[in-house]
């Protein structure tokens, strides 16, 4: 379970996160929506300990990750999966090596077992015959799928997805969103997604929060959001409400 309490962060002169508190239950998918520059990625980086808050706490399964040493944070991250916006795959490794990397680092599996596990997760993200390709040979959507495969290969308990549909066409966005929900429900990971893709987020998330100027404007189910009377929320959801 993720529990964030009174989280604040200022970068330079700008207060990016302003007294944010929320909880994500085990196995739940929560999407954080908001316009660009509202602190979505900064929030995600706090959840995995890449950034230290000015004040507040981030509890993962009862442990405050803002208070533990860097070494323990590295250890803790073995239970996390993080899907980067552009995939963040290593240029100098092919697809197979990229996915096998966490297994080689953190497990005692034999090379044969690693091969089997890599094929298994590639199957899960619906990719075939790409093991020997290098990242520059992959399309944007394929990079995200490989990134997702790498994020879950160790069996992530917590999955964080940073703008998983950015830069993709509507069909690919729909596919990757479905895939995330499908994979997450299969492995039972607690998932936080940041996005400005309203339609797909409303479709796949169990709960949705809307961030505005560093604070949570509203958080709830799809129905809660659609019935929210706040002008900012109405305005933000407007383009998608027709499609819904």
């Amino acid at each position: 379970m993720i529990k964030v309490e009174h989280l604040s962060k200022t970068l330079g002169e700008q207060k990016v996160l302003d007294d944010i508190s929320f909880q994500v239950a085990s196995g739940e998918i929560v999407a954080f929506l908001g316009p660009s520059g509202t602190g979505k990625t900064v929030l995600l980086k706090h959840l995995i300990g890449l950034l230290k808050p000015d004040c507040g706490s981030v509890m993962i399964d009862g442990k405050d990750i803002t208070q533990i040493s860097q070494k323990k944070q590295l250890e803790m991250r073995k239970d996390f999966g993080y899907l980067f916006q552009e995939g963040a795959l290593y240029d100098f490794m092919n697809v197979f090596e990229n996915i096998a990397f966490p297994l080689r680092e953190h497990s005692s599996l034999s090379e044969e077992q690693i091969c089997q596990r890599v094929r298994e997760v590639l199957e899960m993200v619906d990719l075939h015959d790409v093991e020997t390709k290098i990242p520059s040979e992959l399309s944007g959507g394929m990079k995200k799928r490989v990134g997702l495969a790498r994020a879950i290969v160790l069996g992530a308990k917590v999955l964080l997805c940073d703008e998983p549909t950015s830069g993709l066409d509507p069909i690919r966005s729909y596919d990757i969103s479905n895939l995330i929900r499908q994979v997450v429900k299969k492995i039972g990971a607690t998932t936080v997604i940041t996005s400005h893709d309203v339609e797909n987020s409303l479709r796949i998330a169990d709960r949705i929060a809307i961030l505005n100027e560093g604070h949570i404007e509203v958080m709830g189910t799809r129905e809660d959001l659609l019935s929210c009377p706040r002008p900012f929320v109405k305005e933000f959801l407007k383009p998608s409400s027709v499609a819904l």
Binding site: L74, E86, A88, L89, Y90, D91, P102, E105, H106
Partner: protein, 255 residues
């Protein structure tokens, strides 16, 4: 006001660089060195730099021989081309020239690689995957740099002396046996050793600057170019200044 801001930023950057070096040394001395990656980097940094080092050191040996022969002939001392070429290369030109070439080629490569990784979030991905990026990405490059540069300097000195020999024997008509005897007589172990001490310091400086600049690159493709240029420029300046300082110390100690 801007001057104070620049000074305080420079002091902060220097402090960050010192902490960064501390992180590198911590990994090295705790034995968390990934030797297969070091060997891979030694290949990229060393083997792929040999051609450029050989060509440039051959050219500097030839130029040194030609200029020396013209000057020494005026005093009827052309056979002293051998010690001139040998001592100049071992004490100064070999280490300094090779350090320049190395920082322009391999050093720039290190910064550009790490910088691109940083702008593409690969360094952050390493942290997220529970692996220390300094251990995985920086230390192999840093150590390869330190191990490879002395070898390149020795190659450069040998090739440079061969260039000087060709000019001395073919152009200045110094008999081959005399040229070789003068070379061997004039060179002491301390000449070679002092050059190697300098080389060690240069390699640490280049590795440190180039890894640091790459690891903290920001600003996308433009940033990679800017930080790479800065890494090479800082390396040149640091090599020149440290060479002056080390020469003073070495001459004071060993003459």
């Amino acid at each position: 006001m801007n001057i104070f801001k620049n000074i305080s930023n420079s002091i902060k950057a220097l402090g960050d660089a010192v902490f960064f070096l501390g992180d590198i040394l911590k990994v090295v001395f705790s034995g968390r060195v990934r030797w297969p990656l070091v060997l891979e980097q030694m290949y990229y940094q060393g083997v792929q730099s040999i051609v450029i080092v050989v060509l440039s050191s051959m050219a500097s040996g030839v130029v040194l021989g030609l200029q020396g022969s013209i000057t020494l002939q005026r005093f009827g001392a052309r056979e002293f081309i051998a010690p001139l070429v040998g001592l100049s290369l071992l004490r100064e030109l070999g280490p300094v020239f090779t350090a320049f070439i190395f920082s322009g080629k391999s050093g720039a490569g290190i910064t550009a690689e790490l910088g691109t990784m940083n702008t593409h979030e690969q360094i952050q991905a390493t942290r997220v995957l529970g692996v220390d990026p300094v251990e995985f990405l920086v230390v192999p490059r840093f150590l390869a740099c330190i191990l490879v540069l002395p070898v390149l300097v020795i190659i450069s000195e040998m090739i440079g002396m061969a260039g000087g020999y060709v000019v001395g024997v073919c152009h200045a008509q110094v008999p081959s046996a005399i040229y070789i005897r003068h070379t061997l007589q004039s060179i002491d172990f301390v000449d070679f050793f002092s050059g190697m001490i300098k080389t060690f310091f240069f390699s640490v400086i280049i590795a440190w600057i180039c890894c640091y600049q790459g690891f903290f690159t920001t600003g996308g493709a433009l940033g990679v170019g800017r930080y790479t240029t800065r890494a090479v420029a800082f390396s040149y300046i640091a090599v020149i200044l440290s060479n002056a300082l080390l020469t003073m110390i070495i001459l004071t100690l060993w003459g």
